[in-house]
Symmetry: C2
Subunit: 324 residues, 2 copies
């Protein structure tokens, strides 16, 4: 087993690589050539700590493996990220674990890449205001990737309950981008958004239906366990719904809260891969509300890990050439 | 993340350590202080290759983690074991993966330890003939651990379809033990057993009810996925049934084939931990047939891994003392 450390993973995990891998993942899921196991969730010893185990495989990509994600809320007090991720790739010849890749940063980037792909497909091209709800580590990844697919954004609103927590995010934007940025309350962030991203561990709706303008695109990335919720059910029912993997989204994702309506056929969810494949249209009018739910699928992790390894291998070939 | 290689794991994984860890596991499960997630199963690229992901946690032991097991049947042609296992322990303070332990050998030993604990509780003390069905790697671990708890065994029968495959096992017994050993067909092995162990990847019953003498104890360790089966249903119905974890045994273990009878109450299964705790009696007569199903639980893996790490730490302290 080779161990790829967090530092090494971050060195080779660039945004474009993540976008490519996640795009391939969505297409493989829509085509049915990849499979995912149900997610299982365990508990840690400290209050509120949980870990998730996601696994899957794709014959098209010759990949199989597991991602263990951890959410340790107390980490923040110790100055550590609350989320951690490690990806394990299985050697297809022998069944042994070939690679263990520390992937806390990579996980943030791949999650934001998923939202960026969906946003690129679904948000209006004339979107000017991007609002993010939440100010954790993930919010920064989301801004980075969304500003990549919508460089015409002029204004970023950071919607938080406690404005003091948004300082890092404002600094990040000021250092790297020319957009205007402002910290506001959640309702204001929602009411003024053309594109809205929710990136919180919330277990109750944060975004009310009446706060969202016609034509808004929403990417909801927080919900990944039973009980989590960022958007009101009324909002889901007035929008067109898209998901990374509908079968998982209705169990652990944001759309778990309309699972019965999906079962009865009164609410439909489109796999985002079908939009990538041109099988289903994305946004069809300038005033519809579109919602993408990112519940997070193991195949994203396996494919980004494969690409990080490939990038590292290319780099080491380059190095040995230089050495000669 | 620290990586413990297969060689290092084997160095510290002694039988007693495994027995202790597995005993603690069964007690924690019976007390309800530990929890296990449902097992999920994935597929590898080559024919028949599958991997299983088992996870759990125990507040009593301050442990949480995951075991990834692989079954790659084609490995045999390459001279490699068909089974592989890796255990991952989660750092309870931060949620990061603290340890990745290669545990192919340890897995065999812990599985055999489970059967040995059950056999010690359930087999007659005057058992003389031990029969093992199967001649893979696991059969050797089973013999090693069972001869440990029943040193009075005089004869070992190896029941296989193809006698040529049993050579390694005969050699192992000749090198280490004084028991008589013989390779026979499966029916003969069953008909003469006081203790019978099945260690195969079978998907159809290998042992018929009429082949088993009154008073026999059977440990069935092969079944760990839906569809696997080593014992006939008629045999299950004439025996008293014990399992490492009844809730899992009726889904992926041998007792999946009487799951409906268990649900209706016509068949009962006792958690082996209850026998260890004295809450339920083990064998109550010399002529009843007892069957223990080992479906394999993640907590076994987590607790043996904890003990291997502790043994390694003690050893390294010893070394540094010597160095002074």
């Amino acid at each position: 087993m080779q161990l790829v450390t967090e530092a090494e993973t971050r060195r080779f995990a660039d945004p474009e690589l993540c976008m490519e891998a996640v795009r391939e993942c969505f297409i493989a899921l829509a085509r049915g050539t990849a499979q995912l196991n149900p997610i299982v969730i365990g508990k840690g010893q400290v209050a509120g700590a949980t870990f998730s185990v996601k696994s899957g495989w794709s014959t098209d990509h010759g990949v199989a493996g597991v991602k263990i994600g951890a959410y340790w809320p107390g980490n923040e007090l110790a100055g550590l990220p609350r989320h951690n991720s490690t990806i394990f790739l299985i050697d297809q010849q022998t069944g042994r674990i070939a690679t263990a890749m520390e992937a806390a940063g990579l996980n943030g980037l791949r999650t934001a890449a998923a939202d960026a792909i969906a946003t690129d497909l679904l948000a209006r091209l004339d979107s000017e205001t991007l609002s993010v709800i939440g100010s954790g580590n993930q919010a920064q990844f989301e801004l980075q990737m969304l500003l990549r697919v919508r460089p015409q954004i002029r204004k970023v609103l950071i919607g938080v309950r406690d404005p003091r927590r948004a300082g890092n995010l404002l600094q990040f934007l000021a250092d790297r981008y020319k957009v205007a940025a402002e910290v506001v309350d959640i309702e204001t962030a929602c009411r003024n958004a053309d594109i809205l991203v929710t990136a919180t561990p919330s277990r109750a709706p944060l975004v009310e239906a009446g706060w969202v303008r016609p034509g808004t695109h929403i990417s909801a990335m927080g919900a990944d366990q039973a009980g989590k919720q960022e958007l009101s059910i009324a909002l889901l029912k007035m929008a067109r719904l898209f998901a990374d993997y509908p079968a998982q989204s209705i169990v652990v994702g944001e759309f778990q809260h309309v699972a019965e309506d999906v079962a009865s056929g009164s609410v439909g969810i489109t796999a985002i891969g079908e939009v990538l494949l041109g099988q289903t249209k994305g946004r069809v009018s300038a005033d519809e509300i579109t919602i993408f739910d990112s519940s997070g699928v193991a195949l994203q992790d396996l494919l980004v890990a494969q690409r990080v390894l490939a990038a590292r291998d290319v780099s080491s070939i380059g190095k040995s050439n230089n050495a000669i």
